[in-house]
Symmetry: D2
Subunit: 255 residues, 4 copies
Amino acid sequence: MKWTTKITKVEPNHLVTRGYRQEDLIGNIPFPHVVYLLLKGELPSKEHGQMMDAILTACIDHGVTPPSSMASRVVASGGVPLSTAVAAGVLSIGDAHGGAIEKGAKFLQEGVFRMKEGKTPEDMAKLLVKEAKEQQKRILGFGHRVHTSDPRTKRLFSLAEELKIAGDHTALSRSIEVELEKSTGKKLPINVDGAIAAIISDMGFDWRLGKGFFLLGRVAGLTAQVYEEQTEQKPMRKMFSVECDYDGPKERDLP
Amino acid sequence: MKWTTKITKVEPNHLVTRGYRQEDLIGNIPFPHVVYLLLKGELPSKEHGQMMDAILTACIDHGVTPPSSMASRVVASGGVPLSTAVAAGVLSIGDAHGGAIEKGAKFLQEGVFRMKEGKTPEDMAKLLVKEAKEQQKRILGFGHRVHTSDPRTKRLFSLAEELKIAGDHTALSRSIEVELEKSTGKKLPINVDGAIAAIISDMGFDWRLGKGFFLLGRVAGLTAQVYEEQTEQKPMRKMFSVECDYDGPKERDLP
Amino acid sequence: MKWTTKITKVEPNHLVTRGYRQEDLIGNIPFPHVVYLLLKGELPSKEHGQMMDAILTACIDHGVTPPSSMASRVVASGGVPLSTAVAAGVLSIGDAHGGAIEKGAKFLQEGVFRMKEGKTPEDMAKLLVKEAKEQQKRILGFGHRVHTSDPRTKRLFSLAEELKIAGDHTALSRSIEVELEKSTGKKLPINVDGAIAAIISDMGFDWRLGKGFFLLGRVAGLTAQVYEEQTEQKPMRKMFSVECDYDGPKERDLP
Amino acid sequence: MKWTTKITKVEPNHLVTRGYRQEDLIGNIPFPHVVYLLLKGELPSKEHGQMMDAILTACIDHGVTPPSSMASRVVASGGVPLSTAVAAGVLSIGDAHGGAIEKGAKFLQEGVFRMKEGKTPEDMAKLLVKEAKEQQKRILGFGHRVHTSDPRTKRLFSLAEELKIAGDHTALSRSIEVELEKSTGKKLPINVDGAIAAIISDMGFDWRLGKGFFLLGRVAGLTAQVYEEQTEQKPMRKMFSVECDYDGPKERDLP
């Protein structure tokens, strides 16, 4: 029963992560670069490191209403340790919350793979939107409940251009945005999940890490929210005025 | 039913965290500084920002054996999403795993508070070790199962000195180390949890955030471990050769 | 590295739990009796088995507003598997939610232990209420946010009398109720957590299992709620109209 | 913002679940019947109630080695509340652990639906095994890592026959077992997940509740295991002698 790992070697007084001694990393390599090292196996270039840093910050917090914040706050309210409440927020990260990074990246990576046959991003986008329409599938990473022009998206894309990271996946993503508008008649701008999906794909990350980027940034906001709940509110406070209609069976006696 | 929060204001196309527009933070302020902003309410000085960065990296990963890694790996093995498995690891962060940061910081902060009566760190340490002995309580943050001279601890303390962050809490911590050896006859060096407890206390953080620092760094390693488990191993693999003796009641018939 | 367990022996085609073959238990011993067997090591008497059954049902569900229901619903809304969402609800079971069973049982068990010196429940109750007042501590298990005369409590106590299970802990609990009213001038009736705390103590259970009884019943309601959420609602539905005032720092430029 | 629920109506001193007053259910209706009521909306017949009871017991515990037990034990070892550790075990219930109930039930329900065209279970089984082979898909619910003749499976099926619950889904399941042996040349007996999948389908349950049955029984064993860990072991005990080879990059200096 032997395990093998490529992540960390632990010996007495000696910790080596992806080849580097942890005491060398600590305080010398910026934490987002260390995250990159953990996920990719190698330290990033300066540009990739800065992009990773930007992505983490783009995920930190979206106020109290997303499922992750609500879950963390509500669980904190039950009177549990801070880490338990933060974990509850992480649990809500699923197909509908943060999941568009994973699914969007998969979609873009498969699209770019098919572009190798010689298609331009525009051609490929046209084809993908057509296919999605025929199969009645939604393309994830476009449109947002709150934002029509998400400031995080703009900032991430301009940074990706500036750092010369934006490539085929970003181009395909932008072309899909254009085609979606033509096809549906509605503006469905790339949202922040979609932007991250494109950029991590251009950085060479596996789409299966998609939810990881989101959670690595979001735990910062969740920790702040749990701390605020625990220090400024009472446990079991009345959080919501949920009016709830019961429409089950009428009151009845046991048979 | 109105909530108030000091963390993030969300309006259409406008996200303001602790006063700063998120698009200004993204890619301009290093992520560990943004974490500091979230937890403390203000951006750090250059020195505090660098210290925060170092603390996060010091928590990233300790191989496959700690409860958090094991929990994440085992849960991943059940065939669940990456975020669920990472959350399971966070759940194991408790009094015995990472918890010494919280309890250690509380202990040091109470000790330094009592030093205001005019005591030196040495006097206070003597008194605290004596009290702990009388009450048969363990002082947390000293001694380690694996490391006698943890390279992370040394690096964190030397950085705290260099950045002029080390203050009363660090001094008290070092004095306790000396007194513990005198009192027990054993070397019980400050461990990495104890070092972080002292340094975040010198940085002015509330001890109740203790588990937060640990989890914010550790999620990076947990994400890497879950990804490695999901991509290089089969679900439900035989992970352990646990030999298990059953010493319950002998096999019997129903009454 | 050998484990020992008193719970289940697993051999090929042979599963023995607390001494009984699982195929003998299945369908022959009622599930709540099997739960009792798991927690106590022995099958219950008919009366204890029926009481255990009643306790589990008393914990099943309290509508959509408790933290556990909210957490399960909110996490389900993120688009995760049913079991993940149910687990999130279980996470909220803490000192403030369900926790009064554990703490209440501890309090009663310590009280009854002290009665061995020859005190009546009335004397002991008087003393405990006086001590709590002096130490400004709340006695848990009395009073409820919604119910002044909880139908579950009445039913559990009358069943405990009928089954001749009610003993010293129940008597002490009732006396504390009387003394609390004398001491505070307010009616603070025993709540359902307090009733369960008293009854499981009279059944000889360790107070450290307190949260277990609550969660074993509550998972039934949580599973129903997650299923209702997943089948009758869309993911990421707008669940709450939380009005949220941001009272953090005013919008500002980066320094 | 109005919710509707068919589960429980909560009013002061009045709790109505699926139409029944909770005080009427408590101690009068066996808990497994109440679980059925919660999941299905109506109280079960005597036979369905007994079958539900048997299914819950069939899921209670499988010793210390499954991911759920391991996750609960490991997380308990971090020094967290009992409910947190039990929840960690529930998190591991996924596609590979307990998930065959959900997927197996879906498969059988779709198969029986297609039998309406006039096919016998034998014909349908032949077709399904052929299709699976062509699509290189595994049919879930057959074969087990430890048991070749699982005593739980036999007991559940004989009870389902006796209670006249076994119907088309059970028949189809048994036919698939025969066809799988013909097709692969190996015995792949229906496992306990597969048996439950067939029986709950014959009871008219939605396959989407599959993981629910497993977790509702398993939390009993997990609670016992966490309690055993917390009361008989030290926190952070050395649980495994995992030998771990590091095969990542060789130790190296920072660039």
